[in-house]
């Protein structure tokens, strides 16, 4: 199992520097400057602290400002005087200061900034930990984080040298890229002349490929995320996993040897692998018998600790597997996957539609129902008017009328739309593309124009051959292509685009695909002439997902890397999955 990398695969850059940088900055801010001794979570309840000074470490959001304002004003009413510090991360926004001013506490608080943007979650995964990016940009049309992305890219290029080859697709990708270039030009000289460590950078907007993100994940790491929710690279395993009465927080990364071998595996292989592993472990323990004293001493001092550690991890992952199995069979997981595959391949649409309807009628889960509806809409270029209305009605009856707003959000983001008669659509389309060529309008957020966007999934799928033709059983133990992350039924669109562009070293020959993605003006390639990049660095690729990426996509690209001798590094605004996307779009009662 666990495929080894090709012997010539390049080494990954050392990202621990980023971690140290962030940690030192934070410690400095908290301890040296503000003398913080205790940390509380910012929640909507009053902080109980008798401390003379309160220090808030917050994202620059108006909501947080109001929370702080309420707290300060409550203190004022009670006649308390304290010192208040607000540390904004990654930066302070003028709007926040405005709110503090309007709430009449601007003079009472002092502000600071913590320019922290990149958290290395794993050896090849950097996260900006900005889950709000998705809603802010793709729904509200708020571009505030683009600057942060540009700053993060700038930081990477100062640390690891310039990127000789740049590709990207999507409006946000293009804007971020341009802003970053501007930053580099303003501070030129720093990166110039440095040898590039990372040969390629690829920027991709999440709205290029919603389909992949909406599918149920069946690769182990993705499945763990779907089931237990991985937060910042760690997961809380509840009592049902740990088989004790305590929950356990477990870090999931390459350092966990057991996890590292199964994370990219299709779930059907994981159990077999784990039991094999358990047998091996037992055999290693068993070697104790027949050891003499000296060998025993050696064993205890050198191997035992490692074995015990492995043992512990093994039992955790077996527990997690069991728990996943139990949950999935309860929901008739097979049926669900079958429907998803039918949607991806585009057959039995009626049957799938009634499956979804039943799903809603039975109130299985609001988020799941929504996800299936969106998947149906995108793969089918929008729902036919009758279904659009009836599914929505059913949904409102099941889960509450406030979701009327959810549907309005989904429509705006292009996730759940109604098929419109062909002619009006093309008219709007041409109008939008005209707008796009106009420079000023080019900066207009596409949140509104996406109304007129067709997903064209079926055509793209055909063009890029996303549904592999299978003769006989797809052997999930020995994957042939990236489709294995979806049981061999579907090659993730995002990953396929990346593969194709890297193969061609440009968008050449992909014009039709780009057009179908509604990105005629938004796909770009930028290569530097000088050839200072070593062949090793040219096989290192930084993929930037704007709006989040899923573990399935990461696994697929890791697989591609192993096949072709590349190494991928992932930079994402946050790790996401279908539930997170849907929740970001949902309106819930406050």
């Amino acid at each position: 199992m666990a495929f080894p990398h090709r012997p010539d695969a390049p080494e990954l850059p050392d990202f621990s520097m980023l971690k140290r940088l962030a940690r030192d900055q934070l410690i400095y801010l908290l301890e040296q400057q503000h003398e913080v001794d205790k940390l509380y979570k910012v929640e909507s309840k009053p902080a109980v602290s008798s401390s003379e000074q309160l220090c808030f470490l917050v994202r620059p959001r108006i909501k947080n400002m109001r929370y702080i304002a309420n707290l300060v004003n409550a203190d004022k009413l009670a006649g308390r005087t304290r010192k208040y510090k607000v540390i904004f991360s990654p930066q302070k926004f003028y709007a926040c200061e405005m709110v503090l001013e309007e709430e009449g506490i601007y003079g009472d608080v002092s502000c600071d900034e913590w320019a922290f943007s990149l958290l290395p979650l794993d050896v090849d995964l950097l996260s900006m930990e900005l889950p709000e990016f998705f809603r802010d940009y793709f729904l509200e049309g708020d571009q505030r984080w683009i600057n942060t992305v540009a700053q993060a890219l700038h930081l990477l290029s100062t640390l690891y040298g310039p990127f000789p080859n740049c590709y990207g697709i999507g409006r946000c990708a293009k804007m971020s890229y341009e802003l970053w270039r501007k930053l580099e030009d303003e501070e030129d000289g720093e990166t110039k002349g440095r040898r590039p460590e990372i040969g390629h950078i690829f920027l991709l907007d999440r709205d290029m490929d919603f389909v992949t993100a909406l599918c149920s994940q069946v690769v182990y790491e993705g499945l763990v995320d779907d089931t237990f929710r991985i937060k910042c690279g760690s997961v809380d395993f509840g009592p049902e996993v740990t088989s004790s009465d305590k929950s356990l927080k477990v870090l999931l990364n390459a350092e966990d040897k057991v996890f590292n071998e199964i994370r990219n595996e299709h779930f059907s292989n994981v159990f077999g692998f784990l039991s094999q592993k358990a047998r091996n472990l037992q055999a290693q323990y068993d070697r104790r018998r027949g050891m003499d004293i000296k060998q025993m001493k050696n064993f205890v001092s050198q191997e035992l600790k490692g074995l015990k550690q492995e043992h512990r991890l093994l039992s955790l992952h077996i527990g997690a597997c069991e728990s996943i199995m139990k949950k999935k069979t309860k929901q008739d997981f097979q049926e669900l996957i079958k429907t998803e595959h039918a949607l991806l391949e585009g057959f039995n649409i009626r049957e799938s539609t009634s499956y979804i309807e039943e799903h809603i009628d039975r109130q299985v889960s609001p988020i799941e129902s929504l996800r299936l509806m969106c998947l149906l809409s995108i793969t089918e270029n929008g729902l036919i008017p009758k279904d659009y209305r009836s599914l929505k009605t059913q949904y409102l009856q099941s889960y509450g009328p406030e979701h009327l707003l959810t549907f309005s959000n989904l429509r705006r983001a292009g996730l759940l739309t109604e098929q419109a008669p062909g002619d009006t659509l093309t008219a709007v389309e041409s109008k939008v593309s005209k707008l796009v060529t106009d420079k000023a309008a080019g900066k207009i957020t596409d949140a509104f124009s996406s109304l007129a966007k067709r997903s064209n999934f079926r055509a793209i799928s055909k063009k890029l051959n996303l549904i592999p033709r299978v003769d006989g059983e797809y052997d999930l133990k020995v994957p042939r292509d990236m489709a294995y992350v979806f049981s061999g039924a579907y090659v993730p669109l995002s990953c396929r685009i990346i593969e194709q562009v890297l193969e061609r070293r440009s968008w050449q020959g992909l014009d039709e695909v780009v057009r179908l993605l509604n990105c005629s003006e938004l796909a770009f390639t930028d290569m530097t002439k000088e050839d200072k990049a070593s062949s090793e660095s040219l096989r290192l690729i930084l993929v930037v997902f704007l709006g989040g990426c899923t573990f399935s996509e990461i696994s697929a690209l890791r697989f591609l890397g192993r096949e072709k001798g590349y190494r991928f590094i992932f930079l994402t605004t946050a790790v996401t999955n279908s539930a997170r996307l849907m929740e970001a779009m949902s309106e819930v009662k406050a």
């Binding site: 709007a95 509200e140 600057n147 109130q363 509450g400 009327l404 707003l405 900066k443 207009i444 009662k589």
Partner: protein, 840 residues
């Protein structure tokens, strides 16, 4: 060469003082210096003269005239003094002229006589008038000290950051002190004053009487006092013609001298340098100049005309109507080389080089002599250093030539000191030039001042080409050097009001181009400061970073332009800043119209309103006729803002109306349904009790069934046209939850199930009721029969059905459910059936 040391005067045993001419002045002064108020800036700075300062008549011809000259006497500015009577003049560290008026107002002028600003030294000064004033320099900047008519002192240690301090009163002071000065100790400014035979030290808190140690007896008053450039030393001149020299702390005496002249000196200043061998005080009377130190004999010079002393860090400048001279202690390196009969290595090397030029073999002898002593390195270093101390280029050259000659005989002499000295001397000679007139000495003033400040001073004198040449010659990085100077030039250029906006903008762009480090927005800000808004906007066009353009545009009230620039920059924060500006500046309607054309700004502002100004958000949607969003807005209000049912229904009604306007029938209908549901839920709560409000329709019906209100539930389902399928699922689940198996069975038989009977089996099994589940298996349709049988665990029958169906998929499904021993027979049966099927 023999007469080179002719102007050297020994003071004591170890030190020599020399005086040489810097410039001959041709400033055509009509008055004697004594008739003017004079101020000369240190570090070879400019000289300011105020003619006729004491005339009070109003006649224009005799009005005071303020003139500013360079150190070489080149006129820089001349202006008629129209303000009040001036008591004192002085230069700040930034080469700004401070003119202290009698009323305590200080007027600040630039080097070219341009008025900069003014400030007052306070009310107390205004009332009592200024008797005397001093401008002094500290590490923080330049300060002003004032003695008022009430014999009180007021001072400010830094005119850039004006903080007035009134010093404590001197007890029993009836008349003005005979002399006073400012001291600077431990970063605090003090005042030392003499009244009769007593000395007082004033600090912020107190006035203390002090006595200099070892002061000769018989002093009845102090006539003059001088503090050194670095505030370390103090000299006192008494009415007995006795001079006391010591530390400024008054703790130590250095020496004393009796000059036997009882007339009060005109000026007394220190002449010393860091690491001086023999510090001296220079005392000037009308026609006599005396240099005294720790030596029985003083050096005396005769002054041909009225002169003025300017203390410097390493000597004293003396200028009169015709000349400008420099008096200083001869530096060690020069002394070693040029002292008569010196055998110092440097002296020998200089000699050797001269002989070499004469092609004499003596050169070799000298050289050998140095080499035998192993002092060649030292000799070269001495020559290099001495060259720096020479004023005349020919002397510099011969010393450098000697150094270069000596270097040839050294294997490894690092070249940088030589190279740097050559460079520095070129720069120094250039600025010392008569036309430039900045007589800096090498060792201290030039090094102390730093090249950056020197460049600033050139820029201040508008000597841009020279400054750029120096930058290029010294290869300074562009950002620190050339671009900075170009930017200054541009800032000056925009002040030329006689040139048209276009021409200025073009000229600036031509010169500056894309030079890195030049900020067009800074230049534009200057243009705006001069009242040239149009020019500022033109200049901003050249600014490549659109973000930089925004603050100035806002200041110039070009907010709409600022908004598009901010959007172009991609910095949302900046956009927001502009937005809030606009909001305050424009009326609401215009503001909204502006937003309408800028979707990015609009969405930003909406975000803000969503949290902070809900009403504005509504207005925004209204303005755009965006009924869809307006509807959503009211929907949100119906559950977020309103508490009362009536309010909520009203909000929903508004929302429904909006949706109709937006032609969104679906949303309108859904909203109306919700209104009905809300009213109904309210009624249910009233009639039945329990919680109904805010439940979804589905949950409402479920709750009714769970509460046993089946009739009501059915009524509701009919009213809201709940589809059969849903109703069956709903009822099925609810009844199973209640474990009301009887009712469930009745329900199942009420009519043919629209969802089939598999769900019945599933749900019963979920409640672990196999018995009930089995009841329904027979009614499950043929396609799902196998599944149903497997659910209740009847593998054998499932196998039979599958075999009957001859369905391969079903067969394998059953097979996968066969567990080892118990279903062995069934498994065999299936295998056999399969085999048979294949045979066929």
């Amino acid at each position: 060469m023999d007469c080179y040391t002719a102007n050297w005067n020994p003071l004591g045993d170890s030190a020599f003082y020399r005086k040489y001419e810097l410039y001959s002045m041709d400033w055509d002064l009509k008055e004697e210096l004594r008739d003017c108020l004079v101020a000369a800036a240190p570090y070879g700075g400019p000289i300011a003269l105020l003619r006729n300062p004491w005339r009070k008549e109003k006649a224009a011809s005799v009005r005071p005239v303020l003139e500013i000259y360079s150190a070489s006497g080149m006129p820089l500015a001349s202006l008629l003094w129209k303000s009040g009577p001036v008591v004192s003049l002085g230069w700040s560290a930034e080469e700004e002229l401070l003119c202290v008026q009698e009323d305590g107002v200080v007027l600040v002028y630039g080097l070219h006589g341009d008025f900069r600003r003014h400030f007052s030294m306070g009310n107390e000064v205004l009332q009592n008038r200024v008797l005397d004033a001093r401008i002094f320099h500290t590490e923080f900047g330049s300060g002003v000290a004032i003695l008022t008519g009430a014999h009180r002192f007021t001072l400010s240690a830094n005119v850039g950051d004006l903080k007035l301090r009134r010093m404590p009163e001197v007890p029993g002071l009836q008349s003005a002190p005979s002399c006073w000065t400012t001291l600077c100790q431990d970063r605090v400014a003090h005042i030392l004053l003499a009244v009769g035979p007593d000395l007082y030290l004033l600090d912020h808190a107190a006035c203390s009487s002090v006595t200099p140690p070892g002061l000769a007896p018989g002093v009845s008053s102090f006539l003059q006092m001088a503090v050194s450039f670095t505030y370390r030393h103090l000299a006192l001149f008494t009415d007995t013609g006795y001079i006391w020299m010591g530390t400024a702390s008054l703790k130590e005496k250095l020496c004393e001298f009796n000059c036997n002249i009882r007339a009060p000196p005109k000026q007394m200043v220190w002449c010393s340098r860091p690491r001086s061998k023999e510090r001296a005080v220079v005392v000037a009377w009308e026609r006599r100049l005396m240099v005294v130190g720790d030596a029985p004999e003083s050096i005396q010079f005769v002054l041909d005309e009225d002169s003025y002393l300017v203390p410097e860090l390493d000597g004293v400048r003396i200028f009169s109507r015709s000349t400008h001279e420099f008096l200083h202690e001869v530096p060690v390196a020069s002394e070693e080389i040029f002292k008569i009969a010196s055998m110092a290595p440097g002296a020998l090397l200089l000699e050797a080089q001269k002989e070499y030029e004469k092609e004499s073999q003596k050169a070799d002898e000298y050289l050998r002599e140095i080499q035998e002593l192993g002092q060649l390195t030292q000799a070269v270093q001495q020559c290099i250093e001495a060259a720096g101390h020479e004023h005349r280029p020919d002397m510099q050259k011969s010393l450098l030539r000697a150094a270069s000659f000596g270097k040839c005989f050294l294997d490894r002499f690092p070249p940088d000191s030589f190279v740097r000295m050559c460079q520095d001397l070129r720069v120094l000679n250039a600025v010392r030039d008569y036309h430039i007139g900045i007589p800096l000495t090498y060792s201290h003033r030039y090094k102390q001042l730093t090249i950056q400040v020197l460049l600033d001073r050139l820029v201040l004198r508008r000597l841009y080409p020279l400054a750029i040449q120096i930058c290029e010659y010294l290869r300074l990085p562009e950002v620190q050097g050339v671009s900075r100077i170009l930017a200054h030039w541009a800032c000056y250029k925009v002040q030329q009001k006689d040139v048209s906006d276009e021409d200025v903008a073009r000229a600036i762009n031509q010169k500056l181009g894309d030079t890195p480090g030049v900020s067009y927005s800074d230049i534009a800000a200057r243009a705006y400061g001069c009242g040239r808004t149009e020019l500022a906007i033109k200049l901003l066009e050249y600014e490549p970073r659109s973000g930089e353009q925004v603050p100035l545009l806002l200041k110039m009230k070009r907010s709409k332009l600022a908004l598009s620039k901010a959007i172009e920059s991609g910095d949302t924060d900046l956009v927001f800043t502009v937005l809030l500006h606009l909001k305050n500046e424009l009326n609401r309607g215009d503001f909204f119209m502006t937003l309408r054309n800028q979707p990015m700004a609009l969405s930003l502002y909406r975000q803000f309103c969503k949290y902070q100004e809900l009403e504005t958000l509504k207005d925004l949607y209204n303005q755009d006729d965006n009924h869809q969003e307006l509807g959503s807005f009211h929907i949100r209000a119906s559950y977020a803002a309103e508490e009362r049912i009536e309010g909520r229904v009203a909000a929903l009604q508004t929302a429904a109306d909006a949706f109709y306007k937006a032609k969104n029938e679906f949303a309108a209908k859904a909203t109306e349904d919700q209104m009905r549901l809300l009213r109904l839920q309210r009624r249910l709560e009233d009639e039945l009790g329990g919680r109904f409000l805010d439940l979804s329709l589905h949950d409402t019906v479920t709750t009714l069934i769970l509460g046993g209100h089946n009739k009501r539930a059915e009524q509701l389902a009919r009213d809201f046209r709940i589809p059969d399928k849903r109703l069956w699922w709903l009822k099925l689940t609810a009844l199973a939850d209640l474990e009301d198996w009887e009712e469930l069975e009745k329900f199942s038989k009420s009519k043919k199930s629209p969802i089939g009977y598999l769900p019945f089996v599933e749900i019963c099994m979920k409640q672990h009721n196999k018995y009930e589940a089995k009841k329904y298996t027979s009614r499950v349709g043929p396609e799902q029969k196998v599944k149903a049988l497997l659910l209740v665990g009847d593998v054998a029958q499932a196998a039979d059905v599958a075999i009957e169906h001859r369905n391969e998929a079903e067969l394998s499904l059953v097979l996968s459910h066969c567990t080892g021993a118990t279903d062995g027979a069934t498994a065999d049966k299936i295998q056999r059936a399969r085999a048979q099927a294949q045979k066929k």
